[in-house]
Symmetry: C2
Subunit: 186 residues, 2 copies
């Protein structure tokens, strides 16, 4: 089995779903835009939902790899935590930024038991675990509490960057994070 076509499909579908939305993107359009025949698409994935789940798995990998690599470059655990918001600022500045794929997925599949909704929630949990580990390394008194607070700031910044009129939501979030981190580590 050669996985290249399948991977190519998932990666291209990711960009289109992210830009246009899930329901608004039909399989015919997807086939046309990717240049991959519908027959092949349905050979790799038995349904549109399965394709979306594969897209979300890829996005989860890509996003967490990107974010925590950026954070790791900052050095000390305490600096890593703050660096999350610098990474967010870069993301928001991209012209094709359109919010968080998992917030959007959960919005389009509101049933909490739907696999797409469940998998979106799982992404957030993975973020929490990794962030908690760094907060722990940094010597936080309550690593879980600090991780929850920083993630709350992250989600707020994303929504505000997408829907708000603010100049620098990532900067606002970072300023708050600095206070929280100082208080959590002293």
């Amino acid at each position: 089995m050669r996985p290249s076509k399948r991977d190519e499909l998932v990666r291209k579908a990711l960009n289109i779903f992210y830009r246009e939305g899930f329901h608004a993107t039909g399989m015919d359009l997807l086939s046309g835009e990717t240049g991959i025949s519908k027959t092949t698409m349905f050979k790799h994935f038995h349904s549109k939902d399965e394709l979306i789940l594969a897209v979300l798995r890829l996005r989860d990998q890509d996003f967490r790899t990107w974010l925590f690599r950026r954070m790791a470059e900052a050095g000390e655990p305490r600096a890593q935590l703050l660096a999350m918001f610098d990474a967010l600022a870069e993301w928001f500045a991209k012209p094709d930024f359109r919010s968080c794929m998992f917030i959007k997925a959960a919005s389009e599949y509101p049933d909490p038991d739907h696999p797409i909704h469940v998998q979106s929630a799982e992404h957030k949990r993975m973020l929490f675990r990794q962030l908690q580990a760094i907060a722990s390394e940094a010597g936080a008194k309550d690593p879980a509490g600090l991780a929850r607070a920083l993630l709350l700031l992250k989600e707020g910044a994303i929504v505000t960057a997408h829907l708000g009129h603010e100049a620098d939501p990532a900067g606002d979030a970072k300023a708050i994070a600095e206070k929280l981190i100082s208080a959590a580590l002293d």
Copy 2:
């Protein structure tokens, strides 16, 4: 003109869109669930998008009226600001809570120039203005900055309540808000 049918339609459509999503809710289903004929629906609104815009206008009114009334009951401006998070906690606890309608609308209509997206952003701006006024009354050194920070916490709490596994996102947000308000008023 008797507006009762029209209002009834908008109010019932609001609940269905909120529960099921916009694209996932067809006009036939809407007609069936509301008991209002499709002919009448399209006499009042020339398209589904127009109905959605009316739904969002109603939701904007309802939500801001509810939120700022709850806050006003808290008395002093400083207490009002904190009361926002108590109101959020009540909202999150409702069994039919499914995130913020405007975050969902912007997710389903990702084109920033789409009227539905524009109107969703406008809701957030209205929230900002009202919150800024209260921050100003409270004597904040930078009312706009405090309003931005509190709204960022609000959006983060909503997303976390919808998608996260946290026990009390509104409480987490409130704890952070307390620190910010104290620092902004001293």
